[in-house]
Every structure is written in structure tokens, then in C-alpha cells.
Symmetry: D2
Subunit: 144 residues, 4 copies
């Protein structure tokens, strides 16, 4: 576990997550907030698919982007905001499953920029498979 500057990072992340209306719209839930690591869970939903009935790559990306963004945010100062500069995602297998867990982890936390790795694992009954891998750059901005 990394060393957070702001001891109240958990509450700060939870409150920001509630403001992301897209998370409620997708029924995504914040299931883990540690210093430098965040997990988001998403149930499969057949209104969010691509043409073959798999979860759309953009929806997979939505939850792992938020997981990476909030992982970065846990290590930022209390008066900061986090924005995604860019990310790159590889899709490793079709996004089928009962539910999905996206994990974001901080690799390097700088004053301005943070680099995170993220992945998404699909769960079907007792089996799991990794379906996506992300490398992301986040920026800390001063809150107004």
C-alpha cells in the first residue's frame, strides 16, 4: 500500500464516485478503495452490448478508467481534482460473464501526473478470465 497525503482519501473517493452519474446508470459499484488501488464491479447487462452480445469495449473501458482515476485520486492532495489525460486499453477476450471487476493501481504518483495500470476480469460461475488491460495517465488539478 502506498502512502496517502490525505488521510480522508477514502471518503473523498466515495463522494466523488457518487457524483459520476454514469456509474449509477450502469449499476457499477465501488467495492474497494485503498491507497493506490481501487476496484469497481459491474453486472453484465444486455442493454450495454456490442453486435455479438458482449459488453461493449467502451463500457469495459468506462469502469477501468474510473478505477484508474480513483486509484490516482487516493494519493492526491485533499484540494485536488483528477482528470484522465489519456489511456490505452488492450482487449484480451470477449467481455462475456455474469459480472466484471475493474482494478486500477498506481504505478507512479507524481505531483502533476500519475501513471496507473488497470485490468478487468470477467466472472462466470466459478471461472474468471482477464478481458482487458489498461495503461493510463491522470492529471491532478487544483480544485476551485
Amino acid at each position: 500500500m502506498k502512502n496517502p497525503i490525505d488521510p480522508n482519501y477514502k471518503i473523498r473517493v466515495q463522494e466523488s464516485f457518487k457524483l459520476q452519474t454514469v456509474m449509477a446508470t450502469l449499476s457499477a459499484e465501488l467495492i474497494l478503495v485503498e491507497a493506490g488501488k481501487v476496484q469497481i464491479q459491474l453486472p453484465f447487462n444486455d442493454t450495454l452490448t456490442q453486435q455479438n452480445g458482449f459488453l461493449h469495449a467502451g463500457i469495459v473501458t468506462t469502469i477501468v478508467d474510473s478505477a484508474c482515476g480513483y486509484a490516482a485520486y487516493t494519493l492526491m492532495p485533499a484540494d485536488s481534482q483528477v482528470l484522465t489525460v489519456e489511456f490505452k486499453t488492450n482487449f484480451l477476450a470477449p467481455a462475456s460473464g455474469d459480472y466484471f471487476i475493474a482494478t486500477g493501481q498506481v504505478i507512479r504518483s507524481g505531483r502533476t501526473l500519475t501513471v496507473c495500470q488497470g485490468d478487468v476480469v470477467a466472472y462466470t460461475g466459478d471461472t474468471e478470465k482477464q478481458i482487458a488491460l489498461m495503461q493510463a495517465t491522470l492529471i491532478a488539478l487544483k480544485s476551485d
Copy 2:
């Protein structure tokens, strides 16, 4: 305009687009299908935002990923399927606006892999601004 192998590429793209349930869920519409170029339009929707009220980066990515995927698909054989191998997106400005248009264009079309560039422009009244830039790799698979 590039040279399509399949003269019926437009219908093929339109039918596949209808199968992407996430597009109807987001109210996204296919507004242009040319050989090597596809555009998708999305109205702003405050149930799809991140914590500052801007469209979530993952939703922006969803429409430009589909635009790139279908741009690639216009140049693939009739009996093929298209899947996203990976993409990288830079976010250039906050995703605020009345509506958004994502454009995907083929840069290089190979037998197996296609490389596309995509971008997303936000429209607010009479003004427009580019908010995202994507570089994506797509793969053609034989249909079953």
C-alpha cells in the same frame, strides 16, 4: 474514399450497428457511413457524466470506438466480423456540449489488421471543439 471489397458495406454496417444495444441505450445514432469513414452522433445526457458533470471519458470512448470499428468494417469482406484489438485515446478538453460527433477513419487496411484514427468534436450552440483523439487497431475475423 477508399475502395470497398463488399459493395453492400453500408447495409452491413447499419445492420451491425442496430445490434449494438449500447448505442440505443446511449441514444447514439449512425449519421455517416462511407468506405473507410463512419460518424456517430450522441446527445449530451446528464445520466452519463463523471464527477464534474462532463460526459464520462468512457462514454466518449464508446462512440469513437464504434466509429473506428465500423470505419474498419466498411473495408472488410462481406463474411467478416470486426473486433477491437486495442485503442489509445487522448482527452483534449472537458466533454461538455449539446451533442458530440465521433468520426472514425481508416489509415491502413490490411487483410487481418486495420489501423484507424478517430476524434470526437463537441457542439455547443454555434461553437465546436475537439475533445478526444483516438488511435485504434481492429481485427477482421471470419464469420461463423
Copy 3:
């Protein structure tokens, strides 16, 4: 052409380029410096290849990274330094040819971060082909 803050941007780029010892080592030359656009030329050299005798992807990346970095640098203030935050490169065709020209262009120039697109074209006799496509993020730092 974009609007440079520093009217002496050309000299600033040329002097920085001379400090990149790797450019002389590779025999790469700076052939164009405009506000927001830079080109670097590299002759083919069979001491810089991968296993099939093509220019190594990392060497192709070296010249287009510098082209993007210096394109960004043309629009930065006189007292700034430029560093590469990250880049993503697609390789479109084998890097064979007599010589190569890398072009870097600014897509969005911000106070802290700049986003560039780059490409590399290979020239063989009278023919040319695009061999690489880059999307890069650069950061402006204050000089000491």
C-alpha cells in the same frame, strides 16, 4: 500554422536538437521547423535493423518522438523544457527504404500538456509509403 509565444522558437528547437547526441549518432537531420510542425530525416542504415533487415521499430520511434517533442516545443514559452510523457505508435508496414521522414504536428497545445500526432514515411526511389503513426503527450517544464 499555429501561433508561437516565442518568436525565436526555430533557433531554440535547432539548438536543442544539436544537444540530442542520439540524432548525430543515427545521422538524423532536422529538415523542417514550423510553429506546431517539425520534420526529421533519417537515412536507412543496416546497423540499426531488427531481425529481418528492416529499421528497428524503436529507431523509427526515436525520430518520430523527437519530431513530436520539437513540434510541441515550438509552441512553448522560451524558458521551458519539453519532456515526453508517453506515446503510442502503430507500425503500418515494414521499415524498408532509402530514407525516412518523420513528421510531428501539434493537435492541442495547453499550458502544461501538449498532444501531437506523428507519422513516418519511407522513401524508396520514386515511391513512398507510410510506415508508422504516433499519438504522443508532451509536458512543458520550467527551465532551471
Copy 4:
């Protein structure tokens, strides 16, 4: 350790590495070849720098690209070739040090495409720091 199809993968990688003339030019050495994992070591060299005297990002990329490519190649069939489709690299700290070790590891190995993660660590006296992080896509081609 992953399961290689070709028991002679080590020799195959070593022989291909010798054909990469750029590796000898840079004085890079292959120091580890396991199924799914390859390491390459590079001494610092002041003829390979950018403008601040750090190793150029493209040279850092050259060794980690080869490490990822050969990691992928260890798991490919005996009669295949490996090419880089694309990669994305984040630069985490300035590339200063006595020497550098690039590690490439296979995350997912498919029949056509392989996804790898790579990183580069700089060593200075007794200290080490991670300076780069790569996510790469490789393709297996049939040898002629």
C-alpha cells in the same frame, strides 16, 4: 512460467536477437530468456541521449520493444516470425543511470496476437528506479 509450444524457443530467440544489428550497435545484451519473459540489458552511453543528457525515450523504447517482442516469440510456434503491431510507453522518470534492464512479459498469448507488458529499470550504484512502462501488441506470422 508459461507453456512453450516449441521446446527450442531459447535458441530461436537467441539467434533472432543476433540478427538485430541495432542491439550490437547499442551494446545491448540478452540476459534472460524464459517462456513468456525476456530481459535485455543496455549500458548508459552518452552518444544516445536527448537534450538533457538522459537516454533518449526512443532508445529506452528500442530495448523494451525487443524484450516484449522476444517474450511473445518464446511462446510462438517454431516456424513463426514476430512483428510489433503497436506499443504504448509511459516515461516515469528521466533515463539516467549506469545501465538499464528492460523486461518483457506475456500477458495473453493468442494464435495470432500476443499482448505483453514491459518495463525498464535504471541502475545507478546500489539504487534502482523504474523509468518506463510499456503495453504492446505483437503478431505471429508464418515464416517463408
